[in-house]
């Protein structure tokens, strides 16, 4: 049943016989090639420069996050979700915590919902910045990368202000967010306003550099075309599906948090090639800034987290230090053999992450952590189409196609 790893270079699958007219070459692209942005190995059979066969190999990064998640309390799992998509960890945090809150039957405050929208959209922008920036570098355009990286740095500084960390923020707890019971630091809003004032200008500059650039057009137009039928066949979601003309965004189709109260458009492509995916992402960043502005306007004053009496949120530090009830309460939440519990049940929450549908499926058996912890990672499904769109193309197209699907190895392997 199980073939050995040598099966990859089996003669049945790859024809290595030398003939005077035809010589095929085996090429290992990755697992640590810079364009794979992580650990994905592509075993390729080449006929000159033309790719005749591709076989993707995963598993080099396998951490066993799903197994680990089944041995942690609900709040502890948040740190695991960060590491699955380290480019937009906040989307992962909130997606997971929405599933847990559904299971617990908790409705967070309106302020928390808008703040989550705001952070999730910032995270989406940062993900797209990384995607397009590194795609530029992969295809030889270094200047846009620098412009975009500067904006990403601004976003990371905002994350640092609210959470203390830049990359693995873990900024979600059942019932709200971990800190700032009363206030979000004012420095965060100062930074955010400064960012919103200039960000779209940066996008314009990048568009001026890339959108009508002849080299960029030649490298991306009609490369890696995905048809509408393939979107359904392969379960593709997010910008990849939208670039192929499928107008579907979970934020509008099945709104969560308070996405139904903000206005934004869904950018859709026509051809479904690398260029369309680039354009869709650029427009999505613009739409995200609109969403952030609306969320800022609509965010009401008041409590960020749910009432501590629900026994899922931490009590105020004053109470912990000064009252025995507060101290016990803190321990009840924090200690690994205690922690908030819920009854038997299962919950599945679909959310629109920067790469597509990111969903967590949690089964509870009444314990203080998930009995079954399943994540539906968008990259895992988006990458299955790789052989189909690469075969018959040139080797140099691999880099353009790989980066246009936004490779996140943590999502491929979990």
């Amino acid at each position: 049943m199980e073939k050995s790893f040598d099966a990859l270079v089996d003669e049945e699958q790859f024809d290595f016989e030398y003939t005077p007219h035809e010589e095929k070459m085996l090429l290992n692209f990755g697992p640590s090639h810079p364009a794979t942005h992580g650990t994905l190995r592509l075993v390729m059979e080449l006929d000159g420069e033309v790719i005749t066969k591709v076989m993707p190999e995963l598993g080099y990064l396998h951490h066993g996050f799903e197994k680990l998640g089944e041995h942690r309390t609900y709040n502890q799992v948040v740190t695991i979700t960060d590491r699955m998509n380290y480019v937009s960890p906040l989307n992962n945090n909130f997606s997971y915590i929405l599933a847990v809150e559904k299971l617990f039957g908790i409705e967070v405050t309106e302020r928390a919902k808008y703040f989550r929208i705001l952070l999730a959209e910032l995270s989406r922008i940062s993900d797209h910045l990384v995607c397009i920036g590194t795609q530029g570098v992969d295809l030889g355009a270094f200047t846009p990368f620098l412009y975009l990286w500067k904006e990403r740095e601004n976003i990371y500084q905002m994350f640092e202000i609210i959470s203390g960390t830049r990359l693995t923020v873990s900024y979600a707890r059942i019932g709200g967010v971990p800190r700032d019971r009363e206030n979000i630091p004012p420095a965060f809003f100062q930074k955010l306003n400064a960012f919103l004032a200039t960000f779209e200008d940066t996008l314009d500059e990048v568009e001026r550099l890339l959108t009508r650039n002849k080299i960029w057009l030649n490298r991306t137009k009609d490369v890696g075309v995905i048809s509408k039928e393939d979107v359904f066949q392969y379960g593709l979601t997010g910008p990849v599906a939208r670039a192929s003309g499928v107008e579907w965004d979970i934020r509008q189709a099945e709104p969560y948090s308070l996405y139904d109260t903000v206005d934004f458009e869904i950018p859709v492509g026509e051809v479904g090639d690398v260029y369309d995916r680039y354009l869709v992402r650029m427009e999505e960043m613009r739409q995200s800034t609109h969403i952030i502005k609306q969320a800022l306007e609509k965010m009401p004053e008041g409590e960020m987290n749910v009432d501590p009496d629900t026994k899922v949120m931490l009590p105020k530090k004053d109470d912990v230090y000064n009252t025995i009830e507060g101290l016990i309460h803190q321990f009840e939440i924090i200690m690994t053999n205690r922690g908030p519990r819920t009854g038997k049940g299962e919950a599945y929450v679909p959310t629109e992450s920067p790469n597509g549908e990111l969903s967590y499926y949690i089964i509870s058996n009444g314990g203080n952590g998930p009995y079954r912890f399943r994540v539906r990672p968008p990259s895992f499904y988006n990458y299955q189409i790789l052989p189909k769109i690469l075969e018959g193309r040139l080797l140099s197209d691999t880099v353009a196609v790989l980066s246009s699907l936004n490779i996140i190895a943590g999502e491929l392997d979990r």
Partner: protein, 171 residues
């Protein structure tokens, strides 16, 4: 239960009455538990029937009910989405211990390929007629199936068999 969901459940029930084990509605999610025998037919019915149209394959995963109790020890859970009706559905096909086999749905959705390989890798459930039934995340010579509930978190000594590099044996 909304009307659309009711209609979906009724249609599946009437078409595959002998296959349904349970239908449940909780937290706004509909779950249809079925026997494994006709899973491909059931999913094809959901995908192709005119007023169902669950065309988008969302996810497929395994569940080990060892410590929870289910119709059988294992279940393969399918999540489907109908873009036309903006509707989701969950199908659970139960697979007994000792005969961990179920038909592959790669013929319906090419996207199920890697997900089925992952379930095979993690739970040891084999998918009949799968075009490439190999492990996907663990090494090929890995022993056991890590997401089974009786597989310990720390592993079964597999990692301990690697050479421990010390100051003495370092090259």
């Amino acid at each position: 239960m909304t009307d659309t969901k009711n209609r979906v459940v009724e249609k599946v029930k009437s078409a595959f009455s002998d296959q349904i084990l349970d239908v449940s509605e909780a937290l706004g999610e509909t779950t249809i538990s079925v026997k494994r025998d006709k899973i491909v037919d059931i999913l094809r019915f959901l995908k192709e029937e005119d007023d169902l149209k669950f065309e988008l394959f969302i996810d497929l995963c395994g569940v080990d009910y060892l410590e929870m109790g289910g119709f059988e020890r294992f279940a393969v859970v399918y999540h489907l989405y109908s873009m036309v009706h903006n509707q989701r559905i969950r199908i659970k096909a139960f697979v007994p211990e000792g005969d961990e086999k179920i038909d592959s749905v790669v013929s319906l959705w090419a996207g199920a390929n890697w997900a089925e390989r992952e379930v095979f890798d993690m739970f040891g459930i084999t998918f009949n007629h799968h075009p490439d039934m190999r492990r996907i995340l663990c090494p090929d010579d890995f022993e056991g199936h890590p997401l089974k509930k009786d597989y310990p978190l720390e592993g079964t000594g597999y990692r301990e068999s690697f050479l421990k590099v010390t100051r003495e044996n370092a090259q």
